[in-house]
């Protein structure tokens, strides 16, 4: 090797400088090899693609989609563009992920706490739940629940599960509440209320002299006025569910497909979150419990004020991966007939023949969603993490 050795000869180990240079050389070589390999892959792919007559490009995104989607949150028509269809799919997937995320977090905390209950019945049931779902493939659970629906729900009429709740093989109907506000109005109002609440919590310097209750009252008044103005032309009401045979004719109808994916994934994820929560609680030193009890706090207060806040620090990283898993598992909707992003992309690929671009888009979209979740939770984690020696 043409390396200049800076140290005196006869040294048992090469000097630091030499080591560093060899390291650098090796790394440069590694990068070069990786680049060459990537280049070869790219060239081969391009060669094979042209040999098979496949042309790459994203032009198809603006073409007419031309297919229908069964259930959508956003208005959608087959005449819309492929890009619009993709967006409809993303919102459908996000909807499932968010509902499952919220529901399984609440349930998971409850079940996790129950796992530690001194009552053997409660702890045992929680354990059955956790072990049951942790050791079965989620797709099996979903298909089981979905076929259970066909077997149990009546196919020729609807049954009232509770006043105002009807169930049949066609789905679950609950009373539909119509507000005088459109979805956009509600979003605007929520943003307004959120902004004002933040201002009240941290008033700007000019308003700092004013009493808090006055500020809060003003904020509520502004929001109420905005709500009134936006809702003047609408009507509020409740539409009760009604059935014609097994068909659910009115009310808010949850199809068996959507119900299965929401219920099944919540059931599944709750099992994992419960374990994370249990681990988190057990990670809080016993002394903390004893100290809190010594202060005279009740069991519920000990949990709420002392243990859960400390647990949060431990559970955020594993919870992040649970939330990411929810988004990934939402693709199992395919198995039970709910149209999520992956299903829509499958249709797009089949209709347009752009398999490579379609697959890359699938990866990109799920990466974006999951990286956003990870980044947000990591930021939160950094904020609540214990600092220094405190």
């Amino acid at each position: 090797m043409a390396l200049t050795v800076s140290g005196p000869p006869g040294l048992a180990r090469p000097s630091r400088g030499v080591v560093r240079r060899v390291d650098l050389l090796a790394q440069a070589a590694a990068i070069a090899v990786v680049l060459v390999v990537l280049g070869v892959i790219l060239a081969t792919t391009r060669y094979n693609l042209s040999a098979r007559g496949i042309q790459l490009g994203l032009d198809f995104l603006v073409e007419r989609a031309g297919f229908t989607v069964a259930e959508t949150l956003l208005p959608y028509d087959p005449g819309d563009s492929v890009l619009r269809a993709m967006w409809v799919g993303v919102t459908n997937s996000l909807f499932v992920s968010i509902v499952v995320g919220v529901a399984s977090t609440i349930l998971g905390v409850l079940v996790g706490v129950c796992r530690l209950s001194p009552n053997p019945m409660v702890a045992g049931l929680a354990r059955v739940w956790v072990e049951g779902v942790r050791n079965t493939p989620p797709v099996l659970l979903l298909i089981f629940l979905y076929s259970l629906w066909w077997q149990v729900a009546p196919s020729d009429h609807a049954v009232a599960l509770a006043p105002g709740v009807l169930a049949s093989i066609r789905g679950l109907a609950v009373p539909k509440v119509t507000t005088p506000w459109s979805g956009m109005d509600l979003l605007l109002l929520a943003v307004l209320a959120g902004g004002l609440a933040w201002l009240v919590a941290r008033p700007p310097r000019a308003a700092r002299a004013m009493p808090r209750p006055f500020l809060a009252g003003a904020a509520i008044a502004v929001t109420a006025l905005a709500a009134l103005m936006l809702g003047l032309d609408g009507r509020a009401g409740i539409i009760l569910p009604r059935a014609e045979g097994a068909t659910l004719a009115s009310g808010a109808v949850l199809t068996p497909e959507l119900f299965t994916i929401l219920f099944g994934l919540t059931l599944y994820t709750t099992g994992f979150i419960a374990e994370v929560v249990r681990g988190g609680i057990e990670a809080v030193p016993k002394g903390q419990w004893e100290a809190a009890r010594a202060l005279g706090l009740g069991e519920a207060s000990v949990l709420r004020l002392v243990v859960l806040p400390q647990m949060l620090r431990v559970v955020i990283p594993p919870m992040t991966s649970q939330y990411v898993n929810i988004v990934k598992n939402s693709t199992l909707a395919l198995a039970v007939g709910y149209t999520d992003f992956l299903t829509i992309m499958g249709t797009i690929i089949n209709k347009t023949g752009h398999a490579i671009e379609g697959t890359v888009l699938i990866v990109v979209v799920y990466l974006c969603i999951n990286l956003t979740i990870s980044t947000a939770l990591n930021l939160y984690n950094a904020r609540i993490a214990m600092r220094g020696g405190r």
Binding site: V37, R52, A70, W150, I169, I349, G353
Partner: protein, 343 residues
């Protein structure tokens, strides 16, 4: 030093792994690949009796499957050398594009967009779109489906277009429930989740005949334009494979028209009309032009039969499906099937 060594080792490993997957020869025809491999890779469906479905022994049976066997007989001289891969509607085009299968023979309608991404070779049968509906609903025409729930396969299958057309034509609206497999869609319909189930006409007939517990409780309604030209497809840019597949299907129809059957093919090859004798091996020019054995046509008919035999074996009166050949009859019998001349 140690770290440097590790890095080098890792690099070498990556390089070695890359070397293990040599670039596939894109210019090679599927015909050569099939000969080298000793088998034809063909598509299967998710299980439609009469078209393509594995039987109790795991052997794929059906019209579409037998078309694949004809290709194996033509290229390899052995109709059994076919590997079937079950594919759903969304998987089939990429499977052809990437070369995972050599030929797509699985209830695929020939359309412009599809033909731009894979290469459709020829029509193998003319199908239609049909809705299976419970008789108790009293629906007798597509218009009666207004407000009803329809189970169907998603993934851009052509029945969806037919349903949309019917909606526009009769100014109605149906609720759709999509599944990734037409089999799941069928099962959910039979369980009562939907009022109706829409699929291809032949598939609908076969599902009613073979799967429905009480076929008399269900009715068939035809929707859409009435004709779905189903064809076989191969990757684009492979003229040799195109020749073989196109003329093998042609052979099946030609054989029916000329009365060449599995039973009489030996006799026909010896003492049939001149044109028949030439094609069945008397004139090696056919095989030579296609790059096949001189007896390729004989092998196909001997091992698989002609078009009519394939139809009768899988869909005809000897089967529970008892499908009407309608447009799939020979042109001499009022259908649309005719062979191109072998001149």
């Amino acid at each position: 030093m140690r770290r440097a060594a590790t890095t080098l080792l890792a690099t070498l490993l990556v390089a070695a792994m890359a070397g293990c997957s040599p670039p596939t020869a894109g210019g090679q025809s599927a015909v050569d690949k099939i000969k080298a491999r000793g088998q034809v890779n063909c598509s299967g469906s998710q299980g439609i009796p009469g078209l393509s479905r594995p039987d109790e022994k795991g052997v794929w049976r059906g019209f579409d499957s037998d078309i694949c066997r004809a290709f194996a007989a033509a290229v390899l001289g052995d109709a059994t050398k076919v590997q079937f891969t079950p594919l759903n509607a969304a998987q089939r085009l990429p499977a052809v594009q990437t070369g995972e299968i050599d030929v797509l023979s699985r209830t695929s309608t020939i359309t412009f967009t599809r033909d731009m991404s894979i290469r459709f070779v020829t029509v193998t049968l003319y199908d239609s779109d049909a809705v299976i509906v419970r008789k108790s609903l009293g629906v007798t025409s597509p218009a009666g489906l207004n407000g009803k729930t329809v189970c169907m396969q998603g993934g851009g299958s052509l029945v969806e277009t037919a349903l949309s057309e019917a909606e526009a034509e009769y100014r109605m609206k149906v609720t759709r429930v999509y599944f990734d497999s037409t089999i799941t869609a069928r099962d959910t319909y039979f369980a009562g989740r939907c009022d109706a189930y829409i699929t291809d006409g032949l598939a609908a007939r076969s599902q009613l005949a073979t799967v429905a517990k009480k076929p008399e409780d269900h009715a068939l309604i035809f929707v859409g334009s009435g004709v779905e030209p189903n064809g076989i497809a191969i990757p684009r840019g492979d003229d040799r494979w195109y020749d073989v597949t196109r003329w093998t299907v042609n052979l099946l129809i030609w054989a029916e028209l000329n009365g060449v059957t599995q039973a009489n093919v030996d006799e026909m090859a010896k003492s049939g009309p001149e044109q028949v004798r030439r094609l069945l091996g008397g004139d090696p020019a056919y095989g030579k032009a296609l790059g096949l054995d001189p007896r390729w046509a004989y092998n196909v008919i001997k091992q698989v039969g002609n078009y009519k035999e394939i139809w009768n074996r899988n869909l005809g009166d000897d089967t529970p499906i008892k499908a009407d050949r309608r447009l799939n009859r020979l042109y001499t019998e009022g259908g649309l099937m005719f062979p191109f001349p072998w001149d």
